[in-house]
Symmetry: none
Subunit: 208 residues, 4 copies
């Protein structure tokens, strides 16, 4: 097996294990059993256990950033309404999380108590999500699509919390063998938006 494939195989096993058992209860022994390799082989591809974990979260993070940036580039800001824009954002993120329940679980549910460096990668991820939502809210306020009376910090946290929880709820706890269909994700997105829409957006008549 080539180096890249082997590294990928190790990561694949590690993702499943970290998701199911968490950082501390996933041992190198588990990984080598799962991947059917020798103990030393792991250390040919990763410096240590932390390195494996960080690689996983960082890769997931990078993919998400790419997805978000790419989708933004495709949007025609003249023809899309603020509501549709938000719906699009929410849908894409949910869609992304839905693609890999294990990665979703690792990224969203790893709490405190991890080694310092590991912990940082997790919190960076969550901070970034919330930061982007806050920026979007401010942008919407400038364009008079978002009420200027809302507490942006709190609203961003609400949206983040709700979003991450929805993701975890459906894609981890209620995971489906074959994943969620596009239709199902759209339905979740619509329900999500219908909860927030009136509270966040100014009524249609008042918007430009």
């Amino acid at each position: 097996m080539k180096a890249d494939e082997r590294k990928e195989a190790i990561l694949k096993c590690a993702i499943r294990l970290f998701s199911n058992q968490g950082y501390y209860q996933t041992h190198i022994s588990d990984i080598i059993n799962e991947a059917q390799i020798a103990r030393g082989t792991v250390y040919q591809y990763f410096n240590n256990k932390d390195d494996i974990f960080i690689t996983i979260v960082d890769t997931f993070y990078d993919k998400w950033i790419n997805m978000v940036s790419f989708e933004l580039a495709k949007i025609d800001f003249n023809s899309i309404s603020a509501k549709d824009y938000f719906r699009h954002r929410i849908r894409q993120t949910l869609n992304f999380f839905s693609l890999d329940p294990d990665l979703c679980n690792i990224a969203l549910r790893m709490g405190i108590g991890l080694p310092e460096k590991v912990s940082q990668t997790i919190s960076r991820f969550e901070k970034r999500i919330m930061g982007i939502i806050a920026d979007d809210l401010k942008l919407g306020q400038q364009n008079s699509n978002i009420r200027t009376t809302i507490n942006v910090e709190l609203t961003a946290a609400c949206l983040t919390g709700a979003l991450l929880r929805i993701a975890h709820h459906y894609f981890v706890k209620k995971r489906k063998q074959k994943g969620y269909t596009k239709k199902e994700i759209d339905a979740i997105t619509d329900d999500f938006i219908s909860v927030f829409i009136s509270g966040v957006f100014v009524p249609r008549e008042e918007a430009k």
Copy 2:
């Protein structure tokens, strides 16, 4: 020192440590250093490390249940509007979390990767919160205060996620030396409600 006081002292130290360092990175050595007691003494009050942790979360859980039940008993359901009822619920929960940032942190941010029995106490806690919110939503639907068109499960998850995140955001990450005042909590509550209210409740005119 009497037995009860000693046990309480150990728990107090353990709460701070578990909150700051998490389950795995909090060692019995840390606890005995902090509590200024001998190693063996811990095992006269607790069976093992898990027992300490579970005692902490369970105590917190029981307090919350008591608070919720007690507050419910005081409400005059004839004179309170659905909106005010929800506002009240949210405010009480936030208030409760705000009382002990360490307990709040332990309860809300301990992810997966804990020993099985420990993990259960955490998820039981979160399930219960979401269950109560879902029940409240259904009750509201029966009383025509909550739109029958909403996805109850999802909305409950949204509210739970937003709620837990807000709690963590303000009471753990942005914790204040002297805790939050009643006024500040009210402000957070109002902001929280204003985000959700129109999306969740039917417009006032249509309600009875």
Copy 3:
């Protein structure tokens, strides 16, 4: 067993093992087998393997420094000849080394390739010996007892090399069950002095 006794017992075993097998080939397992204790017990008294080794060398070093300083205080510099002074110095050092062949071996024969911190304690020891010899030589030159024509640096290195090798030769390689007698050490000292004396000191007639 009390803490001090236990620590002493561990050190005693470690000294013998380090002397016989060197740093790298002495394993914690060897020490616990020899000392009849559990693995963890070692780590109650020492941070790690390095700590054990450094403790041994540092203790030996401190003893030597004390001996050297103490002996110096007892000397009557008015009545002692330079030759006798040197003989005294040599005898004391040889006497000291002869007391514990294992410590002698550890201190004198541990070469390069040890962990940085460990390596430092060894080289500190050797540097100190050579420094004291160089100081003695300079003092002798000021008092016209030592030829001013000698290369002090080189001569100090010669004396150090010869002294340490003699110590190792007799007290480690040709070690005796019951140690060397005072008489035997005196004989070695005299032989040692007789090799160097005429080459180092100015002839008696020319000295004051």
Copy 4:
């Protein structure tokens, strides 16, 4: 690259590494990085790590033996004085050591704690040096050039200890970029001889 050159290249790198880091802290990985070859290639030229180390020391030993024997053959024993004979011996040895500081370091400073077979090659080297010095002393005694009263064993140990330490002191610790000149080595030799000569040899008047 031809086989011989390749083997030589590996040894060259290994010498530098063993000298700087010692036996245990020099890993096969270090050698292959330094030599820019593949891991397996090392094992086509050497059986194992010990084999590399032993090859290095043995080669150095053989060179030294050749040098010593060759030099001995050139000496006209009728015209050379005992003092000049010793000076010649010392100069040649110092000269030899000065040629390769790394080999000098490996041969002179590798202490105990090496694998059995490795340890033997080192001690063989040192024993041989001391043996030759002892033989020279005895020869000198037969020719009445060396005092018959000296303790030959001790004196040989002194000379060996001093000689090796001088070599290490100047050629390793105070090594020079371009090596030592013949003139500098002569100076060291003269200083060395002047320390020992009068103490070892019978006064000139008494010699034949």
